[in-house]
């Protein structure tokens, strides 16, 4: 691994002029005044403290990239934090992972190459293929739905619902039992080595399938492929597309239609899909295609609030406050449901919503937080109905 100098160079950290704009938008700094993105950079640049082995702030960052978006000098703070994290765990500076690290352990177990049984949700009427043009990368939704069944059990149906939607549009996607976790959470918890192992497996599986297009419903998987994998491997010869863009294209071609009885919806931009990848409009257009009314929250798109936890590390008081802020914002829209593509956002919001520790009365946050595809599938129009 390259040294700190190289990391400073790559992320443009030297360009930081300490203007403090990053801190002014940082959601963590708003709640914890001792935290500031620029100070993390400053401490490393000046070498005043042994940041790598001692600085716990590098784990408090929720990597939402508000700071990157705001920085006039385009310092890549999240990239800087990521680089620090991979180096920090080697220096013995570890994150406090929620669930004692169960999420990271199950993902690490996938590096082993043991034959999985991950396609239990496939039913006989679903049309899937082993080789084909379109690969649907299902991600960890089913695993997370199992582990968090009390909070977000609905996630178990997510891949099945997307396959049904794709089938309805006449697409038979490749869905593979040999697919593994993309390694996002491991990478952001500093375990780059395990992520690289998972990356090799995934790329091999996709190459074997002969796919020209890989569709992702999970924003974290897409970000990991688009940015992190291609950083290591160079540009892929297959196309990476988000489900929202892919479905919109099918709707435009008249292959897919949805029908709902109206309803009010608000949409939560997850940081990975929004600020990291810049995909803001397709999900909104999908809501219009559903025939539902979209009511924006006060902070949306580039300014969207955060679910408060990154890579299941360091969930605490700050996370809860951020979650509560966002849920109150969502409730204020008067919508019945808040949709998002990110399964992690669904889990983290529901974790607070269903917690006995919810700091406000339950009536004050009357909103359902749901994964997009599960709602789409409810309003899917079958071919015969059209």
């Amino acid at each position: 691994m390259a040294g700190l100098d190289e990391l400073i160079e790559e992320t443009g950290a030297h360009d930081c002029v300490e203007c403090g704009k990053c801190t002014s938008v940082c959601p963590v700094a708003r709640i914890n005044p001792k935290f500031a993105p620029r100070l993390i950079v400053l401490r490393v640049l000046e070498g005043v403290s042994d940041s790598l082995s001692k600085d716990k702030d590098i784990w408090s960052c929720i990597t939402c990239e508000m700071c990157n978006d705001m920085c006039p000098y385009e310092v890549n703070y999240s990239g800087f934090i990521l680089g620090l994290r991979t180096r920090a765990i080697k220096a013995g500076n570890l994150p406090d992972c929620s669930q004692s690290g169960a999420v990271h352990t199950y993902q690490r177990l996938m590096t082993s190459g043991v034959k999985q049984n991950r396609l239990k949700w496939v039913t006989p009427e679903m049309k899937i293929k082993e080789r084909g043009d379109v690969f649907y990368f299902t991600g960890c939704a089913v695993h997370l739905g199992a582990l968090f069944s009390d909070k977000a059990g609905e996630l178990k149906n997510t891949p099945a619902n997307y396959v049904r939607i794709l089938n309805a549009a006449g697409i038979e996607p490749v869905v593979s039992n040999d697919e593994v976790c993309c390694g996002h959470d491991l990478l952001w918890a500093g375990d780059e080595d395990s992520m690289l192992k998972l990356m090799d497996k995934n790329v091999e599986v996709i190459r074997k399938s002969g796919a020209k297009t890989v569709v992702f419903s999970c924003p974290e998987c897409l970000r990991t492929f688009e940015i992190d994998y291609q950083d290591f491997l160079g540009d892929f010869d297959f196309e990476l597309v988000h489900m929202s863009e892919f479905l919109l294209d099918l709707i435009d071609k008249g292959k897919l239609s949805f029908d709902s009885n109206g309803g009010k919806i608000t949409y939560h931009d997850s940081c990975r899909l929004g600020r990291h990848l810049g995909i803001y409009d397709p999900p909104r257009d999908l809501i219009s295609a559903l025939g539902m009314e979209l009511i924006e929250m006060q902070n949306n798109k580039e300014k969207a609030g955060c679910c408060g936890v990154n890579a299941f590390a360091n969930c605490g008081e700050v996370s809860q406050k951020l979650q509560l802020d966002r849920l109150l914002e969502a409730t204020a829209t008067g919508a019945d449901e808040m949709l998002t593509f990110c399964p992690k956002c669904v889990i983290h919001f529901n974790c607070l919503l269903k917690s006995p520790k919810l700091p406000v009365p339950h009536e004050k946050v009357k909103i359902l937080v749901r994964e997009f595809g599960n709602v789409l599938a409810e309003h899917l129009q079958k071919k015969g109905d059209r």
Partner: protein, 138 residues
């Protein structure tokens, strides 16, 4: 395969199952020495991560043992345990681990014989299943 001796991690609650293991000892019941017992204050303390980590470190089987439902020292810890074991077993299956490698048993302090019998049957079952698929990798 007959020479294979499975390694079992057994989480036993302080109030019932650990005492049950003690009783099996003082009663001199014979049972295979394959399990490493970890005492926890309540079976409800056993998180999915404890079980996953045991498999990551090369365990062939994991036993979680607690008080019978209704007898929990902390009223409902074992009900929480039941839920956690259920979701962990679901996750293990997705990962490619046979569900039989994770066992949940209710063993009271007076059931020394049941403890010994559980150990015998679990060891036997794991011998038939063979080493955990994750063993080689670690």
């Amino acid at each position: 395969m007959n020479s294979f001796e499975p390694q079992i991690i057994a989480f036993c609650c302080n109030w019932c199952s650990y005492a049950g293991a003690d009783l099996a000892g003082v009663s001199r019941y014979q049972y295979p020495p394959n399990a490493r017992i970890i005492r926890v204050m309540c079976s409800g303390r056993v998180e999915p991560q404890f079980i996953l980590r045991a498999f990551e470190l090369g365990a062939d089987g994991v036993l979680v043992a607690g008080c019978h439902i209704g007898d929990c020292h902390y009223i409902s810890g074992n009900e929480k345990c039941q839920e956690k074991v259920k979701i962990t077993s679901e996750l293990l299956e997705l990962l490619g681990i046979d569900r039989r490698r994770l066992r949940l048993e209710w063993i009271s302090a007076s059931e020394g014989a049941k403890f010994a019998e559980t150990m015998r049957s679990f060891t036997e079952e794991l011998k038939q299943l063979g080493p955990s698929p994750f063993k080689e990798v670690k």
